[in-house]
Structure formats: structure tokens, C-alpha cells
């Protein structure tokens, strides 16, 4: 059925905030930190040694809140290892690479900020959708970095086309959109790119799709054929940063690209980025990162907890600005769709046993919010707190759960296996769930696995009875719902092997609705269907993140998702920095 040929695999192409990627675990923490932390909210109380806000501020700042930016200076931020610089590298490593280089070294045609959901034009100066299946993008004038096989060459439409096609050929993580939704991409002339889809797809511009920081990166067409040695060691694009150096994929040094395009979404952005560059410092240990921040060796920091933030405020006072933001990542319990979980009463009972309020206290010291099918950070799409279906989903009732289990003839003598990765957040969640399910007489045996094994075998090959984990922080509302879809493209089933025609219909209806307001409603309706069926991915909570920066770091974009990290409006107040010494 064509409707099911969505071709979007899980964990694919999604935006991930740079501070939280994979909990630093892949390949010794396969991802990245910190430039995103530049975007920590400055809207909270901070100065004069005051305390930070207790909850996520939800403040959105566009980067102009601190007045005109001063040019110059190098921002120093925390980074984690990128195992490969190859954009076409092995799946999960390419993800880590893309999150560092996408929207920084590589330019893109557009992006979709999380807070507005509107398409913001980057390299594209005009977008046209003549019909439901076609997107035509006109490109502005821009040039590639002064290195590699095409130094300083003007970008043409064929560069965009060839980049997309190379990503489609390689098909590592996140790229199945290119296979199953997108039918073709062609250059109709030097400045025009035409994308045709196989079917109507409302999410086409978002970060899980053609706005991916990874697979929509634009590279010179020359480098895409025959320059694999260069691709493994360097990154050449047309973004606002040039890659000036790195140590085996770490400690990247980015420097301002002097010839960066001067337009964005109809605005003149001449002079951006204001910074001369950004230096990443690989710091794998959280204590070492905090030490580096407090000693002034890095300019921004993501705190591991509010306590840590408060202690740092006490030590540094108004020298720093702190804030909080609701994370887009979320914790869940996933049940494999096999007995006893094929019985809806059992799934409902498991959900009734999950005490989300207690989990928030135990796991996040109260700094988190309950999470339904849609992570609450997606404010535009999430159901309101007083929604009856959502309240029912969040309800905890051990007695009722026990009655449901008995009615379903659940075998209380059997022990259910709950697999989890060795990431601390996953292990802690597993402990809490074991305790809570135990209150209803559900015996749980915990099985810990290392992250790569858990990810590639347990999750991807659906080899679990129950598993729990922290989802990546998806930057669009599309992906969280699609986890419940029965099948996508060449993937015959979802992680849970769960199949439900009503759930599929509700999710696909939203995905094909091109009218924005109608789509928002359909997304909400799809959530209700998922909850009423107790679809076997039971979401638990979303954490509040805490961040800080020295007060001389100004002009950051805040509250727009990870894209804030790529912003070009950050600037350093010279006087403030000199005062810091």
C-alpha cells in the first residue's frame, strides 16, 4: 500500500540537541556537546548571584535581544568526540558528525524552528509548491569555502541535487526519507531545484525530512565523487563556519567564512556570524566540563542538574547567566507486541502502574514534566494539560491495574525481562519501572546491555520483551508519532511489532494534511488514538535542562530548538570578557 510507503526509519534524520546526544555514549560518547548551550536561556533570573528559574522558561529570543552584535572573538564550548568526519560514514557516527557540521560548515536550503514550525529560508530564496507533490526552490548566490576541489566556486543547483543523491545512495542513518518519500530531485536550471515526492507529505521541510541537518547538507559536487580521502578528514561546504582543524574528529576549530551569503529569509545578514570562530574542546567527563566552565576555560555549560547550577551560581554570581529549557527528549517504556502485551488490558495495567510523578521526583528531582505520545516541548502540537484523555493516560492506580491483570489472566509467576542500555539515564529509569511494576505484582528482571549492542540488536532487531530508554530529542512533531506506525517503506514493522489500523490511519491523516491548522488538530487526534489503544510505547517524562554561560556571551537565539546552536547572532562583549580575564 502506497500509504505505508513513508520510508522513514526510526532514529533517522532527526535533530538532536548538541548537549544531550546519546548521553555521550556512542563510541565513547558519540556525539557532540555544547555549541547548543550558547542558546541557554538568558531570560531567567541570573544576575546578582540570584537563583535560576525553577522551571523551563519557555522564553524564545531571536538573537537580537542584547542590541547590535560586536564582531570578533572566539567562543569556547564543550564538545564530544565525533568518531568519523565522513558525512556518509556508518549510521550512528554520521549522525554525530552531521550534528556538528550541519548548519555550521554545511549550508542548507531551509530550516524549520521548533517554536514556530514555519519554514525559514536559508540558501533558498523562494519556495513554491505548485501541487501536493512538488517543491521548487530557487537558490540565492553563495560560494563554497576556499579549499578542496572547488575553492570559492559559486553554488549551483546541481550541487544541491548531487548532495541529496549521494546521501540517498549511501543510505545510512536517517536517510530513508530520500528513498521512500522523495521520488526525485533535479536541477531545472542553474538556480532552481525541483523535488518531487511519491505521495503527499506534509512534513517535507522538517528536520526529519528535507530539512535534516545531516542529509540536506550541501557540498560541492566535485567532492562527492572520487574524494573520499578528503571526506574522511575534512568538511567543505558553504556554511558560516569553515572547518579550520580538528584532532581525529575532536577539538574542532571553526572559523568565520568571510564570503558567507548575506541573506536569510528575505533579511540582510551581512556581517554574520559575529564571532570570528568557535573552538570545541573535547571534554568527556561532566565534572571536568563543570571545572572548565567555572575556571573560565569554556564560555558555556550544560548543567547535569539544578543543584549543580545553583552551586555554580553561588560560586560565580552574576558573572554567569543561567536558564532552563524543556528538553525535547523523553523517557519511555516499550513493550514488544507479543503475549501478554497483545492484550490491551495488560498494556493499560502497565500504564496504570507507571507513577510518572514519582518517576519525576526520583529521576529528575522534580525537574521534569509528564510526557504523553508527543513530547511536551512541542507546544503547538501537544494536548493541553486538562485534556481528559491525557489525564486518563497519566493516571496511576495500582488496584485497578491489578484487577485488569487478573481479568486478563496475567501470569503473576512469570518474570518479564526489561532490557536497557548502560546509559545512566536508561539504567535509572529501568530501576524505577521495575519497582513500580512490582507494586502491581508484575515481576521484572533487568538486563543491562552496552549501548551499541542494545541499539543495533535489541532495539533495531526488536529482540526484547520490554525495553526502556531515553529517546533522542526530536526537533519536529513528526517523528514521535511515527514510532507507532505499523510499517514504513522497506521496514516491515515498528520496534514493537505493533500493528493497529486505527493508529496508522490517524497518524497518516496528520502527515498528509497540508493545511497547518488542520494538521495540528489531526496530530492531537492521533495522540488520543494512541493513548486510548495504550499503544505499546508508554512515554513517561521529559526533563528540564539547565544551562549557563558567562554574561559576556550575548545575542544567542533561545528556545528555538537545537537550531539555536547554529545561530550566527552570538557575540562576545569585549569589555565583559576582559573583565573576566
Amino acid at each position: 500500500m502506497r500509504d505505508n510507503r513513508l520510508g522513514l526509519r526510526y532514529w533517522t534524520g532527526q535533530r538532536v540537541t548538541r548537549r544531550r546526544v546519546l548521553g555521550g555514549a556512542v563510541a565513547g560518547g558519540a556525539a557532540v556537546a555544547a555549541i547548543g548551550l550558547v542558546g541557554c536561556s538568558s531570560g531567567s533570573k541570573s544576575g546578582n548571584g540570584g537563583s535560576a528559574t525553577a522551571v523551563a522558561t519557555g522564553t524564545v529570543q531571536d538573537g537580537y535581544q542584547d542590541g547590535p552584535g560586536q564582531p570578533g572573538g572566539i567562543l569556547r564550548v564543550r564538545g564530544l568526540a565525533v568518531p568519523t568526519m565522513n558525512p556518509f560514514g556508518p549510521g550512528i557516527f554520521a549522525l554525530a558528525q552531521g550534528l556538528v557540521l550541519g548548519y555550521t560548515v554545511f549550508d542548507h536550503m531551509w530550516f524549520v524552528p521548533t517554536d514556530t514550525g514555519d519554514v525559514e529560508l536559508f540558501l533558498a530564496t523562494e519556495l513554491e509548491q505548485p501541487d501536493d507533490l512538488t517543491v521548487i526552490a530557487s537558490l540565492g548566490e553563495a560560494t563554497f569555502h576556499e579549499k578542496g576541489p572547488a575553492p570559492g566556486r559559486a553554488i549551483d543547483a546541481e550541487d544541491v541535487v548531487q548532495s541529496y543523491k549521494r546521501f540517498r545512495e549511501e543510505a545510512p542513518i536517517g536517510y530513508s526519507w530520500l528513498h521512500d518519500v522523495m521520488d526525485d530531485i533535479v536541477a531545472t536550471d542553474d538556480r532552481t531545484v525541483k523535488i518531487t515526492n511519491r505521495f503527499t507529505w506534509a512534513w517535507v521541510f522538517t528536520s526529519s525530512n528535507a530539512g535534516s541537518p545531516i542529509t540536506s547538507s550541501i557540498m560541492p559536487k566535485e567532492i562527492l565523487r572520487g574524494y573520499d580521502d578528503l571526506l574522511r578528514t575534512d568538511a567543505i561546504g558553504s556554511g558560516h563556519w569553515t572547518l579550520a582543524g580538528h584532532d581525529n574528529g575532536t577539538n574542532e576549530k571553526f572559523r568565520k567564512f568571510a564570503n558567507f551569503r548575506n541573506f536569510q529569509n528575505g533579511r540582510n545578514i551581512t556581517g554574520q556570524p559575529f564571532l570570528n570562530g568557535v573552538d570545541f574542546k573535547e571534554i568527556t567527563d561532566d565534572n571536568a566540563a563543570l571545572a572548565a566552565f567555572r575556571a573560565g576555560e569554556i564560555d558555556t555549560h550544560g548543567f547535569t542538574s539544578r543543584n549543580q547550577m545553583d552551586a555554580t551560581i553561588a560560586a560565580l554570581g552574576d558573572r554567569i547567566v543561567t536558564g532552563s529549557d524543556l528538553s525535547r527528549d523523553y523517557l519511555n517504556l516499550m513493550l514488544h507486541y507479543e503475549p501478554p502485551f497483545t492484550d490491551e488490558r495488560v498494556r493499560k495495567a502497565i500504564n496504570l502502574l507507571i507513577d510518572r510523578e514519582e518517576a519525576i521526583l526520583l529521576l529528575n528531582d522534580g525537574d521534569a514534566v509528564k510526557c504523553g505520545p508527543m513530547p511536551p516541548a512541542h507546544k503547538r502540537y501537544v494536548l493541553p494539560d486538562d485534556d481528559p484523555d491525557l489525564q486518563e493516560y497519566f493516571r496511576t492506580d495500582v488496584q485497578e491495574a491489578r484487577q485488569l491483570l487478573e481479568a486478563a489472566e496475567f501470569d503473576f509467576n512469570s518474570e518479564l525481562e526489561l532490557k536497557h542500555s548502560n546509559r545512566p539515564v536508561d539504567s535509572q529509569l529501568a530501576q524505577v519501572l521495575k519497582e513500580q511494576l512490582g507494586r502491581g505484582g508484575v515481576q521484572v528482571k533487568l538486563v543491562q546491555e552496552d549501548l551499541i549492542k542494545w541499539f543495533s540488536q535489541t532495539l533495531n532487531q526488536h529482540q526484547f520483551q520490554m525495553t526502556c530508554f531515553q529517546h533522542l530529542p526530536y526537533e519536529d512533531p513528526d517523528l514521535p508519532l511515527r514510532f507507532y506506525l505499523s510499517a514504513e517503506g522497506d521496514r516491515p514493522s515498528n520496534f514493537m511489532d505493533y500493528q493497529d489500523a486505527d493508529v496508522d490511519a490517524a497518524i497518516l491523516s496528520a502527515a498528509k494534511e497540508l493545511d497547518e491548522e488542520a494538521r495540528v488538530e489531526k496530530v492531537r487526534e492521533a495522540q488520543r488514538v494512541v493513548m486510548k489503544k495504550y499503544a505499546p510505547m508508554l512515554n513517561v517524562l521529559s526533563a528540564v535542562n539547565f544551562g549557563g554561560r558567562y554574561s559576556y556571551v550575548k545575542g544567542s537565539i533561545v528556545g528555538r530548538g537545537s537550531y539555536g546552536g547554529f545561530n550566527r547572532t552570538t557575540w562576545l562583549d569585549d569589555a565583559g570578557r576582559r573583565q573576566e580575564g
Binding site: 565522513n86 570545541f280 549501548l451
Partner: protein
Amino acid sequence: MLRYTLRRLAWLPIILFGVSAIAFFVLRAIPGQDPAAAIAGQGATEVQLERIRSDLGLQRPVVVQYFDWLGNLVRGDFGHEFKTASSTGATSGLPIREQFMERFPESFQIIFLGLFFSVVFGISFGILSAMHRNSPIDYFVRFFAVLASSIPEFFLLTLMIILPLYFWNYSQPVGGYVPFYDNPMHYIRLMLPPALIIGVGGSAGLMRLTRTTMLEVLLSDYVRTARAKGLRQHTVVLSHALRNAGTPIVTAVGTAFIAVFGGSIIVESVLSIQGLGQWFFISTLARDLPVVQFLTVYTAFIVVLVNLTVDLSYGFIDPRVRYS
């Protein structure tokens, strides 16, 4: 002596062959180690996985893969990383040889400095302790030795990061090696504390062995005779006693080297130093089998070489020992 040396050297390739075979086959026998799955990422179809296996030669019998790899290793071709290959396996990753040459100097400096402190602390405190038996110095050294061998290095490293932070707002530099000639002060700040920590860890055993051996020697007749002749204390201790206590101490230095070698993996990982230890760590997590195999054989080679050097040194330290 020459025959003994040659005989020991002849064992070297046999030991390395055994280690390489164990490393190769064990890595492939562990469940969940399919590099194709790790490379392809989630949702890869069996066709895609087969293509990767084919491109990387993983579909061939393991024995054939092993001898191919071994043959290349002997010829100096250490293979290519998996993790920097393309996701389809169509293009290979970075050459391991180049990566090794790039990372070796940083690891060498940490290990060298760590061993230096290990030997200096171990032998000097061991001698001091023996010379002042049952004194406060002796008790302190013995306490220190027990402490050093009891506390894991990663904990000491964490303390090294946290304590200066809370007392002086000082941060141990992490993330990025800087050569001494580029920035001597940064180099010292970066390398000295971790070298001291792995040196302390490696010195504990050496300290206790030196003390025990020296106590025995200091009570021997020829030391009493040397003292009776009116020789100075340091001449008696360093020229007469220490030399005769040398054989077991050199053995312990070999063991300390291996401890320091292992400690460097933790140090490099925690302090983000781009050395061989950190490479080994991330490659293990990434299922990068060619790197893990190579580094296992390399480590075995170093350990065997150190043990051989220690064995051969006996003859030079103690003339009574002769290999014939």
C-alpha cells in the same frame, strides 16, 4: 647469553601469533558484534547488511579473514578503520597505520612520564622506608603504598578534577594535546597531574617490594662489613645494598610498566587525550574490530618485549646470573 636471547626472541612471533588468533576469533565470537549492523545503523535491510559484509570481506570464512589480516599485518599493512568507512562499506576507513603513528607520541609521553614517576616514587620511598624501619616515615610510606594500590585511578582522576575546582577554581586542562615546545606551561599542566596519578598507581607495588628487599639486604653481612669499613651511608645503600636488591626490583619495574600502560587508557579517556588508549576505548565501543585487533596485538608485543628486556637485564644487574 646470546643463545638465551635468541631463544627468547624466537618465542616472540609464536606468542604474538597466539595472541592475534585469540583476539581475532574471540572478538568475532562475542554475540552482538556484527560490524555490518553497527555500520549500517538502524533499520538496515538484510540486503544492505550483506553488501557491507561483502565490501568488507566479512562474509568469508573467519579463518580466511584471519590469515588475510595476519598476512597484511606482517607486511606492515594494519588495515583500515571501520568507523570512518562509508556507511555502505564501499569505501574504506582511515588507515590504521597512519592513525597509530599520529597517536603514538601522545601515549608514549604519558606512559614514559607515568613510568618515570612510578620508578622514582617506588624505589626512593621503598629505600627510605627500609632505612627508617618502624619510624613514622616507614609507616607513612607503607600507608601510602596501601592507599595507592587500593584507590582506582579513575577515582583519583576525578578527585584531581574536583578538588582544585572547589578549593581554587582551578581546572585541569582537558581536550587537546599541546606539544611542549608550543606551550611549555600548558603541557606541564596537561601532562604532569595525570602522569603523577598513574605513576602513583604503578609505584605502590614497587615501593613495597623495594622496602622488603632492601630490608633483607641491609641486614646482610656484606652491608655490615661495608658499614664497618666506614663507608658513607649513601654509598652503602646505593652501591652495595640497592645493586644486590636490583633483580626483584627490575622485575617489579616491568610490572609497573604494564600497570602504567593500562592506566593510560583511563587517563586518556577521562582527559580526552587523543592517544592510543582513547583510540582503543572508542574503537571497542564502536565495534571497530580491525583497530581493536591491532591494538591488542600491539599491547601484547609491548608486554612481551618489556618482559624480555627485564629477563635479559638480570644478567647485567647480577653477575651471578648467567644464561648459558
